[in-house]
Amino acid sequence: MAAEAGKVDPMHQFTIEPLFGTDGWQVAGYNIPFTNSALWMVITALALLIFVAGGMKRELVPGRWQMAVESFTGFIDGMLAANVGPAGKKYVPYIFSLFMFILFANVLGMLPLGVIPGAHPFTFTSHFSATGVLAIMSFAIVLIVGFWKHKLHFFSLFVPHGTPLPMIPLIFMIELVSFLVRPFSLGLRLFVAMMAGHVLLEVLSGFVISGLNAGLGIGPVVSLLSFVLMIAIVALEVLVAAIQAYVFALLTSLYLNDAENLH
């Protein structure tokens, strides 16, 4: 559905465009340009690098910056200790990178950079291709760790203790499906939550603009109400950005717990 003239198209913000004249790049016969999505991944990684590097001074009395970084690492460390136990210690680097990358991506996508002419902020976590890869990475680690540590005994994950014998085939199939759906639900949740929020904000901004264009009368009232609502939704979206990053890290650590400790 194309947007009619004079209306704000809420889906336009998710368009992926090649940047810097790289739309002709060919890798092994495929067109692989440097897109705005890739640009924002690089920006996110750089921002994360700067944030963590600023806290690596290892002072005995930490300053504000080091305190901020250490509280994040401590938070992830505590989450893994609570959900996986002592065996979770070795996953702290992965879960920390995952959590901070998603958190920075979500928050950077919420920044009002669109007011700068020519700047086009982009939230790459609102694309399933990005979140799906993150989910597949987590799922692959679960599979590798599970089969490495427990060999074929890993399949006992699908049969809970004390299942009556006639029920075992049925329970096995149900547990198998619920296990295989995990990467999809993991990636889908983040992608849809970010996309829904951005669509909502765009629709409300469309109301504000249309109301102002409608001239005197009911128009400015609609605009003002939509604008107030939009501010509240932005606050909600910042909360959602943090919660979704947390949920992604939390569910990954729960799945790692399954792989490490079975039941």
Partner: protein, 75 residues
């Protein structure tokens, strides 16, 4: 009813699912708050389970949003 109208009606019906998920998420946080006020000492230890319940309830609402988006933009 022509096909375009049927798609939009279907997308609107899918929005019911989003509303239902809102009830579910409200129920998760409401029940948590209710029991956290009864026993504040145990509340902090249950925050992980709170967010697991939130994620499970929210996912179904998000799925209905996906269905609506697919109906409008893809199908």
């Amino acid at each position: 009813m022509d096909q375009e109208a049927a798609k939009l009606v279907g997308a609107g019906l899918a929005a019911i699912g989003a509303g239902m998920a809102a009830i579910g998420v409200g129920n998760v946080f409401g029940s948590f708050l209710e029991s956290a006020l009864r026993n504040p000492g145990a509340a902090d230890g249950q925050q992980g389970r709170l967010f697991i319940g939130f994620a499970a309830a929210e996912l179904l609402g998000l799925l209905s949003f996906v269905v609506a988006m697919i109906l409008i933009f893809v199908a």
